[in-house]
Assembly symmetry: C5
Homo-oligomer: 323 residues x 5
């Protein structure tokens, strides 16, 4: 368990890494606003100590430790609890669980590993002239929430690129076997990402309905912005899912088309030559008494007849629009 703290709001910025748990009360007194970031949940005892210091609810703490939870926002009276799922842009995977406790003057965040998609937020916090130092922990919580949500966009963009690759390959008419596997992989990614984002819609709209008293009214437009981004993400998911379905249908239809074409060629070749082969087979029989064989013009006559049969068949296929 690594604890890092950033205190602000009382003139100067206090930034410390690897804070021992015993220094926390002092830091809390010294700073108007305190952000504690906990990475790694190895030591349950220490977590419970921390929870007691800030009066965090037992159930919320269980949710923090219990991975694979749904994203949610819960109001525990003395503090607000937000649970989110972060995306790993590299692998288009939903990776860590991220928890926030927002209370008067404090913000405690929990990550599984030392995450780093909040670099920008820390940078803005260090800026003495910036908005962030002047505002409370609710604005900081919004900034972190926003960073988590916005990290989904590049992940989605990568999926979009993969979809476009698949589209190109399918329209080029190749065998498409990899394209289909890729479409399947993209779909699984979309499902996973969507499952992570979906509950956020409800959660952010609960924040918007003003059901929580730890987010001030002036934060409202910002939360609406986050909610908008979540809805946009969900619409993009839906859109990508429909595109991938359409692509699969297109692919199947083109494969069918090609199979049809192949079968036609086979049928035409076979239908023309099988009867002809039968005819030449007839005159290859070794019967003693086959009068045709002795007449000199029969050989050219048979050749001409076969050409006629072939021609008639080609004409018939033309009429049937198979050629």
């Amino acid at each position: 368990m690594r604890l890092s703290a950033i205190g602000y709001g009382s003139g100067d910025l206090v930034e410390r890494d690897d804070v021992p748990l015993t220094d926390v009360p002092e830091l809390r007194q010294r700073c108007a606003n305190l952000w504690l970031d906990v990475a790694g949940f190895g030591d349950v005892g220490q977590l419970q100590q921390l929870a007691e210091m800030f009066g965090l609810h037992r159930l919320a703490l269980e949710d923090v430790l219990n991975l694979h939870q749904r994203a949610k926002v819960e109001d525990y009276g003395t503090h607000e609890f937000l649970l989110l799922r972060m995306v790993d842009v590299e692998n288009n995977e939903v990776s860590e669980q991220f928890a926030m406790f927002v209370g008067p003057g404090f913000l405690i965040t929990f990550q599984e590993r030392s995450g780093d998609c909040f670099g920008m937020v820390r940078q803005r916090l260090r800026d003495a002239q910036g908005q962030m130092q002047k505002r409370g922990t609710d604005y900081l919580a919004y900034a972190l929430l926003d960073a988590v949500v916005d990290a989904y966009f590049p992940a989605l963009e990568r999926l979009g690129t993969r979809l476009e690759d698949a589209e190109e390959r399918i329209l080029a008419g190749g065998s498409g076997s990899e394209a289909v596997r890729d479409l399947y992989a993209v779909r699984r990614c979309l499902l996973d990402l969507r499952r992570a984002v979906w509950p956020l819609r409800e959660a952010t709209s609960a924040l918007l309905r003003g059901e929580t008293k730890h987010f001030g009214a002036e934060i409202h437009p910002y939360l609406r912005d986050v909610h908008d981004h979540v809805v946009q993400l969900l619409e993009l998911f839906e859109s990508y899912r429909e595109i991938s379905s359409s692509l699969l249908e297109l692919h199947l239809s083109m494969v069918n088309q090609r199979l049809n074409e192949v079968m036609k060629v086979l049928t035409i070749i076979a239908t023309i030559f099988i009867p002809l082969t039968f005819v030449v087979g007839v005159y290859g029989m070794n019967f003693k008494w086959m009068p045709e064989l002795d007449v000199w013009w029969c050989y050219p006559a048979v050749l001409v007849a076969m050409a006629g049969i072939a021609g008639a068949m080609v004409w018939w296929f033309r009429r049937k629009h198979w050629l």
Copy 2:
């Protein structure tokens, strides 16, 4: 950044192009109603100056600059913010983002390029006897909103024509390869357009619920009209999507049908001739001791037998309804 201004409502119409930012305050004082149209977002500094003059919210301005936003209506107290997506009828594409700020006595619009689907609106504004000069900026905002929404109809009509073309080609029973690609292209267009229009439903119904104080009660029937058009657009999208699905199913079913027919012909030809070819092959063998070969009536007998086999098979296919 090109700024053009139209002032009205105080007797005469003031229309100026390429207004310098410094002239704006004077224009605002002189005219009861002022429409400022900003094209191009090159100079962020100037935009911020403009925003400060009219007290536009920082978040809304960010949304203006940030392309690829969802359409939305947001109330910032001192002004109303509307964000829309315009359609490019030529290419059936969603093209520019279009933003409006409606406040007391002013309407500021932001376009990426010098757009021109508002020619009609400007024309009606210049008409001294028309409704528009007599009403406030909320009516003007409605007129622009209406123009943006109505521009989707010709785009949809073009898609409808393409669907009808595809239907014709599929019913004509050609190879259908292009028809399928075209259906796919139409579907992607529909998805893109729908994604642009979908949030407008919510937005216009928010306007209708009277949640905004910058649109007067007498504008209400007009907004209801726009909302109706949005709903009609969405129903058309849905309808076209179902038609394209049905067409694809029809196409697949007809391709299947044709494949079936082709396979039947192949099977019939092969099934009739393969056994006959075997029979003639038997009498083509070079064995010394093949008594049949020496009997004079064996050759015609074999021919008759083969005709009999072929006839029996044709009869059997008839009974199976394959012929």
Copy 3:
């Protein structure tokens, strides 16, 4: 533009065809309730005159003239505006737009052509003892609304008959090509009809919620009846759509089945005879040194061997359940 008027409610019934516009005010004064039916929108000027007489809203009049609108109910304070789409039972098509203005003592209806699905309503109106003469224009409006909605039922019944025809043909196992095209045509009809009826659900439920003051409380049970019919129509649409989908799936599955059967026959014939044809080919070669050819029992031995191969194959196919 042809104007016909029916006045009632003040003892006697006044019925006149081709009324000049100038006679309208007099008629209005003379009759407690006046029904004006306008057919054809050729003369916009006259329409506007009429609108001014009764104080009809400009936007509603635009909707009347603008074809291809959604069905809707709108309250304009002094009058109620209803817009409906009528069905052409003959062709299962949505044909005309039908508009009604209901106000105190008057009902104005607009049709594109002289329609005639209201014959029954007129008949009931002429009946001096009937309900209709005793009630106001709201009841008359309900009767017309009911007539328009009920005209969809025979159209749907015709589609149901066509579905049953298609079902019969598909289950009979014919080539099904026409059945598929017919299913597609039925689906398009269903889509068009549904699109016309769908908004009526909303509209009639708005009437039911009592949001309009021009329909009296005693009309409420009648409106509930119309709403019920609309909902029943929509459920029938949905039901027919699912039946047509199921039929298409059934058809595809049966075509697949048949293709499979055909392929099996081909495979069995080919698999039995191709190796045998190879064998007879071997003994048809002209090599000088082929000792088998000179032995007298080799010919019957080869024949027996081939019979054995064929028998083994048939046995193998039996075991694989292909025969």
Copy 4:
């Protein structure tokens, strides 16, 4: 029209069949609670007389006579009107329409034919110690409603058995042609039943919301029970529909699988023997100058070469995992 009456609640039970209409007023006075059951709607005049006696609403009576209505619950002030659709368990069909009027002290039911799924209810009513005699007509109405709803369960069970039969046949891998037709028939039944039950959800939930004053508060838990059964029915419909879809997909996928297998066998046989047949054809040609024919080891060499070709192909197919 056959009228049977059961009066109860005033000490003793009065049960009479084929009551003449003129006796009804006397019966009504004598019994605290009166259940009139009307079977057959032949005589409209008598129906209207009955309706006037009890003050039944004209529209409700029209609904009774008009078959093919949606199930519904309607409140007409002085009485409650319930319309239901009964199921014919034998044929899994929705058969009759069943209507109830519940008012203070009376319950009038209308059936097309003398139905008999209420045998149990009558039995319980005759039991002098039972709940039913002690309670009002609302409880009796609940009992009839419950009997109608519960009759759907055995019908659904029969469909479930048919689905299981189809599943067994499909998994056994037979030709599946009947299984597919049976699935289709089950689906149509499900659609019809669902269409009959679906509006009941709304209707019973309206009863639950306490919108009707003719059902006492103590009936509430019983109505909740009926509502629960209706919801359970709808969930079962949905479940069966999904199972039938899954079964069809399974079937199609297995047919495809089998077709694939058949094609592979054909391809392997053809691919091995077609080149070999060509080779033996070459040495069956009658050219004078074919030096190979005169060399004694050429015949065995050709045989060995052909065996080699066949072996190579088998090896190749193995590598491609076709064998």
Copy 5:
């Protein structure tokens, strides 16, 4: 019927198995909180005695005895009734019905068999220092509810593993026949489980809305937790269902792909060799007058010509991208 009782809340814990019904009143008086667990419903008389002791509602008792009910929460004034369905993790089946009556100071549970997924709850109850002894029966009811819901997760995990197995097998490209059957089996399991969990959503959200007075406010966060788990289960069901659909589509598409490949090979082989076989057949005819046969260079010329034909075809297939 086996009755076991645990009393707590008055200092010491009373735990007894096989309690005779006559001891229950005494136990109830002695303990502040009493949990009675009834396993097996053999003796209806005894059940009714028990119901009378605690004033349980007749309808609720019927629901307990009547298996195959939907999960629900019902408020009967003096007590709360919860009906749940337990999962059998071993077989991924919904097994028993589980009913709870929560009232002031008592909790009565009904199981079909002596279940054992509550071992953990009993353990926590025996812990004298634990939360459970300090709280009322509502907390105990929550704990049981939580145990029932959480038992679905391992069942779902097993289904997830089976899906992954199927995915692996399908992507490996085997014949996939078992994979498809397995997918079908997984889908049926998902449907059954989902049908059991689905009504719980409604039920727990009714508890959350605080519609029941027997669950204290301090239990609220715990109930929210259970509701969250139910929603998460439903989202997982949905997710798994979509994955299984995608897998089936992937499988079908790959089977199609493979069929296509097989057909191509067949077509290429046949198309190359059928014409060649015809050619050699021609020169195998036994006509007397075939001048080509006597010319010495004709044999090599024919061989070369056939090689040319084969080469041309291969080139043509290359151009068509079939090779």
